[in-house]
C-alpha cells in the first residue's frame, strides 16, 4: 500500500480531529472576517424597515432546538430590528418545540427593550394541524386561539384588539428549519390572505426557498448562520452569527482541503507504476 492509498483509507477519527481543531481555533483566537450583505437578506431587512411605527408583525417560530445555534442569532437580530423600530409582534408556532423557543426569545427581548406582554407583543403558542392552523388564523384568529400562551383570553389582550385575521398583519416573519405543513404559510397565508412574508431558515433549507423568492411569494431569505451574520451587519452589531461565521469559514476550508486531498490521492493511487525495463 503506497502513501496515496493510505491517505484514501485514513481513519475517520483524524478527520473528526481536524474538523474539531479548525472549528475551535478561530473561536479561541477571536479572528474576524468581513461580512458581505446579499440581496436576499436585504429583502427582509428593507421590508421590515419600510413598515410604519406600530405596524403589526406576525412571527412564527417553527424551528427545533437542534437548529438553535443557526436560528437563534437570526431570530434575535430580526426581533431586535422589529422592536427597535417600535413595531408590535404576535408570535405563534406550528410545532410543539416552538413554544419554548418563542417564550425564551420574547423574555430576552422584553428585558432588552423594556416591553410589555399584551401591549408590545403577545405569544399565541402552539396548536397542531399545520395548514389547518394557518387557515384558522386566516379565517378567525381569536376563534382559532381562544387563549394565548399565557392562558389569557385573546379577546381581552390589548395588542390583539384590532387583529382578527392574518389579513390584519402588515408583515410576517417565518423562522423555520423545515417546510412544516408543506409551506402552508406561503400557500395559504400569502396566497389566500395576502400577507407579505420574509423567510428566515436554516442554510440547508435556503435552496428550497429560492423559487418562492423569484415568484415574489417571499420578500427575502435570511439563510442560515451566514444570513444571520449579514442581518447583524445591517443592524450594526457583531453577535454570535458573525463570530460563528469565522469558525464556519475555517471548517469549510478544511473540508475543501480534505476533498482536494482525497481527489489527488484518488488520481495518483490509480496510476500504474512504470514497467521495469526487461533484460
Amino acid at each position: 500500500m503506497n502513501i496515496w492509498e493510505r491517505i484514501l483509507q485514513i481513519d475517520r477519527r483524524y478527520i473528526f480531529l481536524l474538523i474539531g481543531i479548525s472549528g475551535a481555533i478561530p473561536i479561541i483566537m477571536s479572528f474576524s472576517l468581513p461580512t458581505f450583505v446579499t440581496p436576499e437578506v436585504r429583502g427582509v431587512y428593507n421590508a421590515i424597515d419600510a413598515l410604519p411605527e406600530g405596524a403589526m408583525v406576525l412571527v412564527s417560530f417553527d424551528y427545533e432546538p437542534s437548529a438553535m445555534p443557526e436560528m437563534d442569532p437570526m431570530a434575535k437580530a430580526i426581533l431586535r430590528h422589529i422592536f427597535g423600530r417600535g413595531l408590535k409582534v404576535v408570535g405563534v408556532t406550528l410545532i410543539p418545540y416552538g413554544t419554548g423557543i418563542g417564550e425564551e426569545l420574547f423574555v430576552a427581548m422584553e428585558r432588552e427593550f423594556n416591553l410589555k406582554q399584551g401591549v408590545d407583543y403577545d405569544f399565541l403558542g402552539y396548536k397542531p394541524g399545520y395548514q389547518a392552523v394557518v387557515l384558522g388564523l386566516g379565517q378567525d384568529l381569536k376563534g382559532s386561539f381562544p387563549k394565548n400562551f399565557y392562558e389569557q383570553d385573546t379577546r381581552t389582550v390589548p395588542i390583539l384588539k384590532d387583529i382578527n385575521s392574518l389579513r390584519d398583519f402588515d408583515y410576517m416573519m417565518w423562522l423555520h428549519d423545515d417546510a412544516y405543513g408543506g409551506y402552508g404559510w406561503i400557500i395559504y397565508g400569502r396566497q389566500n390572505y395576502g400577507i407579505d412574508i420574509g423567510s428566515g431558515c436554516t442554510a440547508i433549507l435556503a435552496t428550497g426557498m429560492y423559487p418562492f423568492l423569484q415568484a415574489e411569494q417571499v420578500t427575502g431569505i435570511v439563510g442560515g448562520l451566514k444570513g444571520a451574520a449579514e442581518y447583524e451587519k445591517l443592524m450594526g452589531y457583531t453577535g454570535s452569527a458573525r463570530l460563528g461565521m469565522v469558525a464556519q469559514s475555517s471548517i469549510h476550508v478544511m473540508i475543501i482541503g480534505l476533498i482536494l486531498l482525497g481527489n489527488i490521492a484518488f488520481i495518483l493511487s490509480k496510476r500504474k507504476p512504470k514497467k521495469e525495463p526487461s533484460g
Binding site: 432546538p65 397542531p128 379565517q139 473540508i255 481527489n263
Partner: protein, 225 residues
Amino acid sequence: MGFFKRQLPMIIVSVVGFLMIVSYFSPAPFLQGMFTGANEWVQIIANFALVIGVFSLMRAHYIKIKRKEAGYGYSIVMYICLIFMTFVGLALERNIKSGGVFMWMFKWVNTPLTMTTFSLLAFYIASAAYRAFRARTFDATVMLVGALILMIGRVPLGAMLSDFVHQQITVTQIIPGLPEMAGWLLSVPAMAARRAIFLGLAVGIVATSLRILFGIERTYMGGGD
C-alpha cells in the same frame, strides 16, 4: 355490512372532498361557514392524533422493555422523562412560563442534548464528503466542482479570496467572484431542479387526491385494494 365498511366511507370522502374544493374557491357564506367548520374539525382531530402518537410511543417502548430487547434501558429513560415532563407540565405548572421547571428542563437539558446530537453531523458530513466527493465520472466531477464553489462562495473567505485575485491579476476581473458563482448556482440550476420537484409533487398530490375523491384509490381504508 360491506356497504358500511366500503361504500359509505367512500361516499363521505367524495362528498366532503368535493364540497371542500368548491368552498375553497367560492365566496358563498354557506360554503365559507362549512369550510371554517371543517377546518376546526381538522384542528381538533390533530389534537387527538397527538394523544394517539404518545400512546403509540409508550406502547412501542413498553414492548421493548417487556421483551428486554437490545437497548431497552433507553426505553426506561424515555418513560421516566415522559412521566416527569408530563407531571411538571400538568400538575406542577399549569401555566408554563420562563423561569419555571418545565422551561428550565427545556433550556438546560433538552436544548443542549438535541443541539449536541445535531452538531455531530458536521463531523460525519466532513468524513462522508472526504470519501464520497471523488471525480470518478463527468457527472461526479460537475457535482464536485459545484460543491466546492458553494462551500467557499458562501463564506466570507470566498469573497475575500475573489477580491484578492481580482486586485492582483486584473485580467481575472472578467470572471465573476466566488460569491456570485455560488449565488448563480443557487438561483439558477438549483432553483430549476427545486421547482421541477415542487411541480412534480403538486401534480402528484392533485392526481392522488382525485383518485381518492373518485374512489379509485382506496388504500386509506385499509385492506390494500
